[in-house]
């Protein structure tokens, strides 16, 4: 019985490896669209106003321009989480502290909704 179980596991190893690759590939293609931000002072001497302004720049920089993905064609974005908090260190000698960026997270996928499947006579896609 144990032997059969081991055979079954061995049989499925290649498929699970492939699935792992796909997940890894999908995991690489993530993007953020930032909707808000705040500055957290590192010390009392840090200038709150300039820190907030710097965090605005840093958090906006995390945000991807979705048109870079949609305009060339062939790609699509799907939201996987919203209002996610992303910590960004300012990493500057003149001001300490960090930024909390509030962002919606998306995965980027190839847009195959209108691809006609071979010998199937129907279109692929997520309907």
């Amino acid at each position: 019985m144990i032997r059969i179980f081991l055979y079954i596991i061995l049989l499925f190893i290649p498929f699970s490896a492939q699935a792992g690759d796909l997940n890894e590939k999908a995991a690489e293609e993530k993007m953020l669209i930032v909707t808000g931000y705040q500055y957290v002072q590192g010390s009392d001497s840090d200038d709150k106003e300039i820190g907030h302004s710097l965090c605005g720049t840093r958090c906006n920089a995390l945000s991807a321009n979705y048109k870079n993905i949609m305009e060339p064609g062939g790609w699509n974005i799907i939201r996987i989480s919203s209002s996610k908090e992303v910590l960004t260190e300012l990493g500057n000698r003149l001001i300490s502290g960090h930024c909390i960026c509030i962002a919606d997270e998306y995965i980027v996928q190839q847009d195959d909704r209108f691809k006609v499947l071979k010998n199937k006579g129907r279109m692929a896609g997520r309907y």
Binding site: N68, E71, R93
Partner: protein, 576 residues
């Protein structure tokens, strides 16, 4: 059912016929000359003088006396012509515009002095040149008297009143004659390089350029020309292709393109004469692309003086001008990176607490362009001038020397406009407790060395990067591959290929919208009316009337960790 379909079919048929007829170029010149000579204070004016004075009235709203033209808008709101000049709506070519739902009809004599009659008897509206979804009412042809009346009162020859945003100009008889005489010259004679069967273009290549960069610049525009000509050839052989081409492109479908290569040799001071010789031998409608890693100014001046549009030349040293008209550059070049650094640091200036900025510049064209961009924008923002250090030929900034400078001057920011030779010196200030908060270098100056910066300095080095990030730009590669079929993208020069792609695509789109009106000013007016586009290479390419630098922004980035690092944005697309 049959009955209900009939009106719809008739409508489709009529619209199709109108669209086809409307494609016909309007070459009929029925503009009456001014019967009498125009004079001011008893002095008769020459034709050139009339044109100069009329141009000033049209473009700047300044009367021959030097006073601003007076006008009323929206009924009784007084305005001066300089704030509401003709050119701001009717554009430089006089062929009008469509913007934000406001339709400005053509105001050139050739169109005004021709009856706007329906293509089909009984129709009361005629499609506009720019946009066949926009219709203008029929009217008889203007005369000098009825044109003067509409300019003064807003009442056209049919008695219809113009939109209230059209100024009613308060002009005396002589001034009115001058303006009308100028309108008669607008977009009147076909532009050089254009015939009924062809449009000639040229590209400019300066001697000594890297052959790969030249080939990369040529490939996209040659592809655009070849593709257009193959349609002409196919249309001649096949009626269905001809009909399809005509429906898509109108008269343009029968017009062939040619592309000449003007190679400039020797010193830049001799280029002007070479350009004149080329132009005399073969006048061209426009210059497409072009490439130089030295000067571009002689070509710029030549185009400006001969009124030749030049689209997207591949150069890092564009001529910066707020008033020049004929060259449309991809960006402000290297200088734009210096300007971005100034803007970025200016927004952080409060952190500096009176600590200075040090600017280290490699002697030579590249460093100077970057330094100048920074210097001017930094001064414009009202900051104290940076401490300037110039690196002479073969002089390299060592880590020790940079540390000495940082200890002595205690700068809040250091800019290093040099290649990797001096960038490595940053290691010398990495661990200084009171070191600068910002160290900035140019991504363009670093070139390929950008990708192999030592790990130790990546965290503290801010880099100006005037392009879309490469891992995001790669999605546009599919578009580029279409124009270099069968060739490996990696064998081309990255930026030259993409800039030239923009030139070819822009030309195609503009010519399609010009609908037979192949005038140089109209080409630039048409591009100015285009909405923002998403092209390879630049994060955003935008146009507007009179704007001459297509990409206006730049990122501040840092290089990520690892052997195969990515660029990480530290700012959004900063527009100066």
């Amino acid at each position: 059912m049959v009955h209900s379909m009939r009106p719809m079919l008739s409508y489709v048929l009529i619209t199709a016929i109108m669209a086809i007829l409307a494609h016909t170029p309007m070459y009929a010149a029925a503009v009456p000359d001014s019967a009498e000579k125009i004079s001011i204070s008893g002095k008769k004016l020459s034709d050139n003088e009339i044109k100069r004075l009329g141009e000033r009235m049209y473009r700047e709203g300044i009367m021959p006396s030097g006073e601003p033209m007076k006008a009323y808008v929206s009924g009784d709101v007084p305005m001066t012509g300089s704030a509401f000049s003709c050119v701001s709506c009717h554009l430089r070519s006089g062929l009008g515009s469509v913007e934000g739902g406001v339709v400005t009809p053509p105001t050139n004599g050739r169109v005004l002095y021709r009856e706007r009659r329906p293509y089909i008897k009984g129709m009361e509206f005629v499609p506009l040149i720019h946009n066949y979804a926009v219709y203008l009412p029929v009217r008889p042809s203007y005369t000098d008297e009825s044109l003067a009346k509409v300019l003064r009162t807003g009442s056209d020859p049919t008695g219809r009143m113009m939109n209230s945003s059209m100024p009613r100009y308060q002009l005396g008889d002589e001034d009115m004659k001058i303006l009308i005489a100028y309108l008669k010259t607008l977009s009147d004679e076909p532009s050089p390089g254009v015939s009924k069967t062809g449009i000639r273009f040229a590209t400019v290549i300066t001697e000594g350029m890297d052959p790969v960069a030249v080939e990369s610049m040529l490939a996209p525009i040659q592809f655009s020309v070849d593709r257009k000509n193959s349609l002409v050839t196919a249309a001649r052989k096949n009626d269905r292709v001809a009909r399809m081409g005509y429906n898509m492109l109108g008269g343009l479908s029968e017009i062939s393109f040619s592309l000449s290569r003007w190679v400039l040799k020797g010193q830049p001071s001799t280029w002007r004469q070479q350009l004149e010789d080329y132009y005399r031998a073969e006048p061209v409608f426009a210059i497409l692309g072009g490439i130089s890693n030295e000067e571009w100014e002689p070509v710029h001046r030549f185009c400006e003086e001969n009124q030749i549009p030049a689209l997207i030349p591949s150069t890092d040293y564009p001529v910066i001008s707020e008033t020049d008209w004929y060259t449309l550059y991809p960006s402000r070049g290297l200088r734009q990176e210096g300007e971005t650094a100034a803007g970025y640091l200016s927004s952080m200036h409060k952190l500096f607490k009176d600590r200075p900025v040090v600017q280290i510049t490699r002697q030579g064209r590249r460093g100077q362009a970057l330094a100048k961009g920074f210097r001017e924008n930094w001064a414009q923002a009202g900051h104290k001038a940076a401490i300037e250090i110039e690196l002479k030929d073969n002089e390299v900034m060592s880590p020790e020397r940079l540390r000495q400078i940082a200890s002595k001057e205690r700068p809040a920011a250091i800019l290093i406009w040099d290649d990797q030779a001096s960038i490595h010196s940053i290691a010398g200030i990495r661990d200084m407790p009171d070191g600068p908060g910002f160290v900035i270098a140019s991504g363009t100056y670093l070139g390929k060395a950008l990708w192999t910066l030592p790990e130790g300095i990546r965290d503290i080095l801010y880099i100006t990067y005037p392009y879309r990030l490469p891992h995001e730009d790669s999605r546009f590669d599919a578009q580029i591959r279409k124009i270099i079929p069968g060739k490996d993208l990696a064998t081309f020069d990255y930026s030259s290929l993409r800039r030239s792609f923009i030139a070819g695509d822009l030309l195609g789109k503009a010519l399609m919208e010009m609908r037979g009106e192949y005038y140089r000013d109209f080409l630039l007016d048409t591009i100015g009316m285009m909405t923002d586009m998403h092209y390879p290479l630049y994060e955003r390419v935008s146009f507007g009337p009179g704007q001459r630098y297509a990409s206006k922004g730049c990122f501040i980035v840092k290089l990520g960790k690892g052997d195969n690092p990515k660029l990480e944005r530290l700012s959004d697309w900063t527009v100066q």
